[in-house]
């Protein structure tokens, strides 16, 4: 690996080396809060580097791209890591997280997500995916005192191993069919002319199943509610946004390399996954009275929307996916951020009953939570509306009428389950006790997410143009 290549990989190196550095520091002087702040600073530096430093080469070691697309996601996930760390400063202290390990793991997860989004070969994809999945196994169960956390970690581990197996086998099959791991070649090799195309398609089908596990597309979504509920809220924030977004980013790169006419044979599979996600996620979310579980099921529905746009394809569909990923991540991070900032002595208010009447004790954060939920429901003037608008517009353009109408129905029902916590916050007759007033870092993260959700709802133009620019 040449010096130029290392320089092109600088943002990820900052994240990964920073992570090891913090692990060392944490071992000698365990100052939890300060370590997290340093970690957040490192993540911000990585984001700045990714934005400011022009990569000298387009590809690193034939595995990772350093193009604008990769850099865009590197910035996104680095920012996410920084925000998650800021959210954890007080929360981590109260739950007695090991500061060094926690910070370094979050940074490492960001590095993994960034590598996954930059993957330009199937090996890169595998490396990126595994590096942050392994980190998440630990992070989910990082509170050893919490039985739910341990259970969630175990569940995620078992499911994750199955997914890894499927992924590896799928990659192997594609390699057999085409003789290459590198992305354009590995996909071009599957064009209709070659005799080994069926093998490659089987490989893709296995990969789709693995991806379904990772992003919790139905019918591979069963782990989602338990893991969301059991994991610490700050980790759930990372899990529900970055880990899914990065997978989608990698899938887009892989699909972009597929020559015309694309994988028409696989479309029905994705179609079925999208339909199932929309239906099962919706019905799952309806019955929940636990905020984290509701968000888990609703994330399944969101993945259904993304799969819809994936089927629609084209520049429209992909712009819609990336925009949706960005605004979904901001709103979801905000929602989990509010839960984190309410936590007292590590106890998160998860049940709706805990939230009763909080709108009048904590008006700003409750309104912010309501705003994030409305954004997830796709109601203007939030960013979620523009996101959904893009998805539906791509779906109709791609003649996916069934999915578009189903998506509309799911949106309508989603209004009901997103309104329930809002109603509890503001319209409940009884009042729950005051929760933690939150501290400066938590408030700034929430303010950031709030402003982002509002700005991208009112002025989405610049972000859309940027996405248009970075598309592979």
């Amino acid at each position: 690996m040449s010096g130029l290549e290392l320089y092109a990989l600088l943002p990820q190196l900052i994240l990964a080396l920073g992570s090891t550095l913090l692990l060392m520091i944490g071992a000698w002087c365990p100052v939890r809060g300060r370590l997290m702040l340093i970690g957040a600073g490192l993540a911000l530096i990585a984001a700045l580097t990714a934005g400011a430093c022009q990569p000298p080469v387009a590809e690193v070691a034939g595995m990772f791209s350093a193009g604008p697309y990769a850099r865009f996601f590197t910035i996104l996930w680095s920012l996410l890591a920084a925000l998650v760390l800021l959210l954890s400063v007080r929360y981590g202290k109260e739950r007695r997280f090991p500061g060094g390990e926690y910070t370094s793991l979050i940074l490492f997860a960001a590095a993994g997500m960034s590598l996954l989004s930059s993957a330009s070969s199937l090996i890169g994809l595998f490396l990126g995916l595994e590096s942050f999945t392994i980190v998440l196994y630990i992070l989910i169960a990082i509170d050893k005192q919490c039985a739910f956390g341990t259970e969630a970690g175990l569940k995620y581990l078992v499911m994750g191993i199955v997914a890894t197996g499927l992924l590896t086998f799928g990659i192997a099959l594609i390699y057999v069919a085409t003789g290459s791991f590198h992305l354009p070649e590995a996909m071009v090799g599957l064009s209709t002319a070659t005799g080994l195309r069926p093998l490659g398609l089987l490989g893709w089908a296995l990969m789709l199943a693995a991806i379904g596990f990772k992003v919790s597309l139905a019918p591979f979504h069963l782990w989602t509610p338990d893991v969301y509920q059991g994991a610490p809220a700050s980790v759930t924030a990372l899990l529900s946004t970055g880990s899914k977004g990065a997978v989608f980013a990698a899938v887009l790169t892989a699909l972009a390399a597929v020559p015309e006419p694309g994988f028409t044979e696989l479309s029905p599979v994705i179609w079925v996954m999208a339909v199932l996600s929309l239906i099962l996620g919706t019905f799952g979310a309806l019955g929940q009275s636990n905020l984290k579980r509701m968000l888990a099921y609703s994330s399944v529905v969101h993945m259904g929307y993304l799969a819809t746009a994936l089927l629609a394809g084209g520049a429209d569909g992909w712009t819609a996916i990336i925009f949706y990923l960005a605004v979904y991540s901001i709103a979801t991070l905000g929602a989990f951020g509010v839960i984190t900032s309410f936590a007292m002595q590590g106890q998160e208010p998860q049940d709706y009953a805990d939230l009763a009447g909080l709108g009048y004790h904590h008006p700003r954060r409750s309104s912010a939570l309501a705003f994030f939920l409305l954004s997830l429901a796709g109601i203007p003037p939030t960013a979620g509306f523009i996101g959904k608008f893009g998805i539906f517009s791509a779906a109709i353009r791609g003649d996916l009428w069934t999915l578009a109408l189903l998506g509309i129905a799911a949106s309508l029902i989603s209004v009901y389950y997103y309104l329930r916590p809002i109603i509890v916050l503001f319209m409940a007759d009884e009042r729950s006790v005051c929760l933690h007033p939150g501290e400066i870092w938590e408030h700034s993260v929430l303010a950031f997410c709030f402003i982002g959700t509002l700005i991208f709802g009112l002025i989405p133009g610049p972000l859309l143009d940027l996405i248009q620019f970075v598309l592979p």
Binding site: I379, P381, F392, I396, L412, V415, L419, M427, D465
Partner: protein, 501 residues
């Protein structure tokens, strides 16, 4: 009336920004309750002053009094286009007027008053935006923006099963809106594929060739609007919402939100889909008449006076829709005038119901009575507005209703006759209400105080407007001739088919 104001100063954006600003002030100074009330009152007064000034401006050659157009989301071809024609002008004057009353009758509000006023002002932004938007996505944005404040107004400040009513209101309107969103996107894509110009501008989309899709897209738009109007059988959310809503919420709901539905039909559904629209007129007329009779009958059976007035709204909107469905110039002008009149009289009645309830603690007719002796001023106002609502000549509703009937008779005498007979029912249920509330024996209990000076101050402008609209609606109608002509001519088939069968 001839000066044309060039779009140098963004007056329309100002109309949108003022209530937003007021709402923000209320939220920022939420600990100073009294200041918030005055902020809100000042904001609504300024908005009304601006809209009243607009009333005396003239239109340009295209019928626009004011017009603004800026790029917004370039990638999707969404623009920030606002335009005020004669119909939106009247609706905005009505909005400005009613919002002052809404603030005035909520002066006693104790529960989270700053938030309450902020929501009222936020709602005003949404309503004004709906009346002004000329870009379909912008319109959709404002259309949805009306929902959230209303949800909270009903859900937080309502009485009884408020959450149920609030969610029902939200889901009903949301269902219609989402279908409209799909129709908007489909229309946009069709237009883009035909012309290469991807745009949401109302003006551009009017020329879209839709073929077999037209009825479906039209249905998508109409469902959104008809839920809001509301037309039977999509009306069930309305009585529930009114029963629990606070006074200002009911006033806005009946006075303004219902009008956005009819307005949407006139501004978007008819011009965009002229063929489907003219084909649907008979069906609309049947629905309108069914609504008129059904709601009148339902109103007659109510014992809760607020619910009674809510049903009377549905019934009146039936008359409005009949005027729309007749496709006749006079009837259409009458419909729009009736919307303004209905906004004022029904708004006043809802306000008075809340005043009665605060005195007596009830809205049930059996538990009321004898107010004429006990509280003469209140009773006099109540009688006055009830008579206006049932269409007494010389008071507001009569002017609009008579135009609708004249127009409908010209094209379809049978329908006109049926509607006229329906008005007898209106007289029946309203007189029954008046009799139950004002006359008869009052039940035992503590004394009821008469109106305070502040309440009188809120009611007098309404009473004056009611009289003025009934006696001299000419200045309002003058603003309507041009836009109504445009609506009827753009859907040329409306004229040749003569509307109703």
């Amino acid at each position: 009336m001839t000066t044309v104001v060039t779009a140098s100063f963004p007056w329309l954006s100002l109309l949108l920004a003022l209530p937003l600003l007021g709402a923000l002030l209320c939220l920022v100074f939420r600990n100073q309750v009294d200041e918030c009330k005055w902020f809100s009152l000042a904001t609504t007064l300024v908005i009304f002053a601006v809209s009243a000034w607009m009333f005396f401006q003239g239109a340009d050659a295209n019928g626009w009094y004011f017009y603004e157009d800026h790029a917004w989301i370039g990638r999707y071809g969404i623009r920030y286009t606002l335009g005020m024609d004669g119909i939106s002008l009247l609706m905005i004057v009505l909005t400005g007027f009613l919002q002052i009353i809404a603030v005035a009758i909520s002066w006693h509000q104790k529960k989270h008053a700053p938030l309450f006023f902020a929501l009222i002002l936020l709602l005003e932004t949404g309503i004004i935006g709906v009346f002004l938007a000329l870009d379909l996505v912008l319109f959709y944005l404002f259309w949805e923006m009306m929902l959230i404040p209303m949800l909270f107004l009903i859900g937080v400040w309502g009485h009884g099963p408020r959450v149920y009513a609030a969610v029902k209101f939200f889901l009903f309107t949301m269902a219609g809106s989402l279908l409209m969103l799909i129709a908007i996107i489909a229309l946009y894509l069709m237009h883009g594929q035909q012309t290469g110009d991807y745009s949401f501008a109302l003006q551009a989309l009017k020329q879209t060739e839709m073929g077999g899709w037209e009825p479906w897209l039209f249905a998508g738009f109409m469902l959104a609007f008809l839920v809001k109007v509301p037309i039977v059988p999509l009306h069930t959310w309305l009585p529930d919402a009114h029963t629990v809503a606070p006074a200002a919420g009911s006033l806005d709901l009946a006075g303004l939100l219902l009008k956005t539905g009819v307005f949407g039909i006139l501004r978007f559904a008819f011009p965009l889909f002229p063929d489907a629209a003219s084909a649907s007129l008979p069906l609309l007329a049947i629905l309108a008449l069914a609504g008129l009779y059904h709601a009148a009958w339902a109103a007659y059976r109510q014992t809760d006076i607020k619910r009674l007035i809510a049903y009377s709204s549905v019934s009146h909107l039936g008359v409005v829709m009949l005027g729309v469905a007749s496709g006749n110039r006079i009837a259409l002008e009458g419909s729009i005038l009736l919307m303004v009149c209905h906004g004022i009289t029904t708004g006043a009645l809802f306000g008075m119901v809340s005043m009665i309830r605060r005195r007596t603690g009830t809205r049930e007719m059996e538990k009321l009575g004898g107010m004429w002796k006990e509280t003469p001023v209140l009773a006099a106002f109540f009688l006055y507005f009830s008579l206006a609502s049932l269409g007494l000549p010389g008071l507001a509703n009569f002017a609009g209703e008579i135009l609708v009937f004249i127009g409908t008779f010209q094209v379809a005498p049978v329908w006109g006759g049926l509607a006229l007979a329906g008005m007898v029912f209106a007289a029946a249920y309203l007189l029954r209400m008046v009799q139950g509330v004002i006359w008869g024996e009052r039940p035992d209990g503590r004394d009821w105080p008469d109106l305070t000076w502040r309440e009188v101050l809120a009611l007098v402008p309404l009473a004056v407007a009611t009289l003025w609209l009934g006696v001299y609606p000419g200045p309002l109608l003058a603003h309507l001739h041009e836009p109504v002509r445009l609506i009827l001519e753009q859907g040329q088939i409306l004229l040749t088919a003569g509307g109703l069968p």
